[in-house]
Structures are given as C-alpha cells and as structure tokens.
C-alpha cells in the first residue's frame, strides 16, 4: 500500500504504486527514497527510463513544479507528454477527471498531475492502473515538495533525527509546513512555530504534535535571538490576501522578513529553506550567506522527483545502483 494515510484502500487497485501522500511513510521508506535521490544526485543523467512516457497533467498551472518533473523525466531518458493549461484541454468542455485520466492512461506509463481540487489525485489513482504522482491537489497534499524538503534537511544535516526546525511566516495556510511537520514525526524533532497571530499553526496540527509526542514551541517574535538555536529555518510567504484584517497585515508584514544581520548568532550548520517563489520574506543580502540553501533546495527537487518517478514505475534502489545507462 503506497498511500497509507488512507489505510482502507480501494478494492480496484491494490497493486497501484501511486504516490498520493507520503505523510504516513515510515522511516524505512523515507530513507529508501532519500538513498535513491542521493544516487540521482551523483548521476542525474541516465537512460533508465528510455522508452517510457511520462504524462504531466497540470489542470492547474504550476510552472516550477512542472519544469522540475519534466526535467526529471527528460534527464532519465523518458519522453514527456501533457498539458499545463486547462483551457486547451477538454476539461473545460466538461470532460470529467476520470475520462481524462482514462484517456491519458492509454498513452503514458506514469501520470504526474496537479489539480486545484482536493482529493483529485487519490481519485485519479482509483480509476486507472497507471501510477499517479500527486504534484499537488489544492491545499491538500504535495508529496514531492515534502520529499525534496526532507532530502534537503537530510543532506545538509546528515540526519533527520533530533533537529530544531523553525517554521516562520504563514503557518496557517502553508501546505508545505504541514506536510513537513507530519513527515518528521518519527525523527524526534523540536518545532518552533514563529507566526503572526492570524497565521499561526492551526489547532489540528498542534493536536497532531501532542498526539505524536512532537515537541513544539509557539512564538511571535522573529529575531536574531529567537532563531539562534535553529538547525533548519523554514521560511514561507506571508501573503496579503491571507489576512481578513488588513490593519493586522500592515502591522506584521515586515516582522517576518529574514535579513543577513539576523544570522550573527545562528548555529554553524543552520540552513535556510524556502519552498519558493519568495516575495520579500528573505532579503537579497541573505543569498550570499553560507546558510542560504533555498536555491539548492529547489535543485534537490530534481533528484527527489527522479526518485519518485522511478519508485512508482517499480524501479528499485538496486536497479539504480546497478544502472549501466548512466550518461
């Protein structure tokens, strides 16, 4: 079973290798995928997917995610088909998601899909035998982002265990921080949630932490001192449209901006992550710091996605280690 979070699987597709969510993956599976990504980082260009067709169906546009997946497929020798604008597809003519998925299933070996509706990827995985990779379903799940975050943390810290992870900014709507929080639960993290009152971590995730014995501290101050103990500083966008109270937005909008002069007391190993695109929450003077890691983090997305595509196609870590198609 791949998507353990929905532990009662559909009867149709017990063999389906789709990746809809990784929130419930155990340590072993996570490590397996991290090891795969490590192999791909060492040798990102291969022909291991020669003859395969990867479909990227972006019912909702997301240029970054699509480019990353398509690059991953191309660098492994697969061909890519797909669409990115729903206006040019029959979805806008009223074709159901099921029909689109069924049609594309005739052509592709794996379907990477992004959709604005929550649960779309899970449903798609139930109507086809072609594996689905969820590239984001509304505000619900985005497992490849989580995987690249985990890989970035693992790579920079050498472990996922016992880390101080500081999440800053919009913790209410930030899907990436929620997914990361759940994926880290078995690694004994200590979270610091730094957010304005209106965008604080939702109750359900705090409850999740309590139920899973995850330590967390909430604070509103974002200063040189409050981040001194961080191993990972995970920054997110504070967007104007998220606020019901615009006075509140004006008051806090500059309070969650990271500047280079705030890094004086931070730990040597500390790395700054950000799901990108940034607006103004990380000053440009931070880019030159040794702690800045967000661009490398985006590149790690390539290796993480190479791993996910291979995993759903049944290509194992051993296959990748013994791969003779490296370019």
């Amino acid at each position: 079973m791949i998507f353990d979070i929905y532990s009662i699987s559909s009867d149709i597709n017990m063999e389906n290798r789709s990746i809809v969510s990784i929130a419930d993956y155990g340590k072993e599976k996570i490590q397996y995928l991290l090891d795969m990504a490590t192999e791909f980082e060492a040798h990102p260009n291969r022909q291991i997917l020669k003859g395969k067709v990867v479909a990227t169906l972006f019912f909702e546009p997301s240029t970054r995610t699509r480019l990353s997946f398509e690059t991953a497929a191309n660098r492994l020798g697969a061909r890519v088909i797909g669409f990115t604008d729903p206006k040019v597809t029959s979805s806008s003519k009223g074709e159901t998601l099921k029909d689109t998925i069924k049609m594309v299933s005739n052509y592709a070996d794996v379907i990477v899909m992004r959709h604005k509706l929550e649960g779309a990827a899970l449903y798609a995985s139930e109507v086809t035998n072609v594996p689905i990779i969820n590239a984001g379903d509304g505000s619900n799940l985005h497992p490849s982002q989580t995987m690249l975050d985990l890989y970035s943390i693992y790579k920079t810290q050498g472990t996922l265990e016992n880390l101080n992870i500081y999440m800053v900014g919009d913790l209410k709507y930030g899907r990436t921080v929620h997914s990361l929080l759940m994926s880290m639960r078995k690694y004994n993290p200590t979270f610091h949630f730094i957010a304005p009152k209106e965008l604080e971590m939702p109750e359900e995730y705090k409850l999740y932490c309590q139920q899973n014995n995850i330590k967390y501290i909430e604070q509103q101050d974002f200063t040189e001192d409050t981040i001194a103990d961080a191993d990972i500083l995970y920054m997110t966008r504070v967007q104007r449209e998220r606020f019901t109270d615009l006075m509140e937005y004006e008051r806090v909008k500059d309070a969650y901006i990271l500047r280079a002069d705030m890094l004086g007391k931070c730990k040597d190993n500390m790395k700054i992550l950000h799901p990108l695109p940034r607006v103004n929450e990380i000053e440009y003077d931070v880019d030159d710091s040794k702690h800045a890691y967000y661009f490398e983090q985006a590149r790690n997305g390539l290796y993480a996605r190479e791993a996910l595509i291979c995993d759903v196609l049944g290509i194992t870590l051993d296959d990748i280690k013994n791969d003779t198609s490296i370019i």
Binding site: I8, K98, K116, E118, G119, A120, L122, Y123, S139
Partner: protein
Amino acid sequence: MEQNKENMMVAALENGSVIDHIPTDKLFTVAQLLQLRDCKEEVVIANNLKSNVMNKKGLLKISGKFFNEEEISQLAVICPNIRLTVIKDYKVVEKREVLLPDTLTNIVKCANPVCITNNEPMKTVFYRKDKDTLKCRYCGKEQKLKDIKLK
C-alpha cells in the same frame, strides 16, 4: 406500562419495520428521509413517548417496509443508536441497534466545496473517526455528525 404500549404497537404490525429510540427532535427528519409523506402503507408516527433509556423518544412503525443496508447507513448518520425491529408474520425476526458503520459509501456529502467529490460524478467515502466525527477519504476534511448532509 411503556413496555405494554410498545408491544401493542409492534404486535399490531404484520410485516414491516419499527424504528425505536429516535431522539424527539430527529423524528421528523427521519420521517422526511424515509419519505413517509408519500407512503401508501400503514404508518404510525409517535413522539414524546416515555422511555427508560432516553427520557423521551420518537418511534416509527412502517408497514411493508424493509430497509436495505444503504438506508440503514443513512439512518445511522441522521441519528445513531436507534433501534430497528423487523417484523414478519407478526413475529420479530430481527432486532438490532443501528450503529454508525466504519465506512460510509455514497451516503454523505462532503462539506468542502473544493473536494473532488463535489465536482466529479463519483461516490463519496467517509470513515468514522470517532462517535461523532466523519472524515472524507478524498480531501481528508473532518465533519461533525450533527452538521452532516446526506448525498
């Protein structure tokens, strides 16, 4: 006394179903769900009956009606812990407490407007999380039983 009255009502039924232990404020919701207004068979609707278990209760007796599992699941969502008695030839052939099942397929509508189930011709699936919470299989959103809308 109550027992006798109840026995009389049940005994009067040749073939059909009795739904007992309905919360008084849910009685007419249940009657509507079962479309009793259009029912041509003999129907008894009783409310505010004294009960040992629940202070006051409602009761429905429907001649010629036998519920399938889907209807029973709907009943369970509207009011859990009701008691269903099936009568054939004046005899009680089945008596059971209707409990909320672990999985509800195509019974409940998801309250999340951006859930795929509200935008695609498909069955909904809900899991029982605890005694008064359901969770959508697709969007993962949880809903309280009291706020649930049937599909």
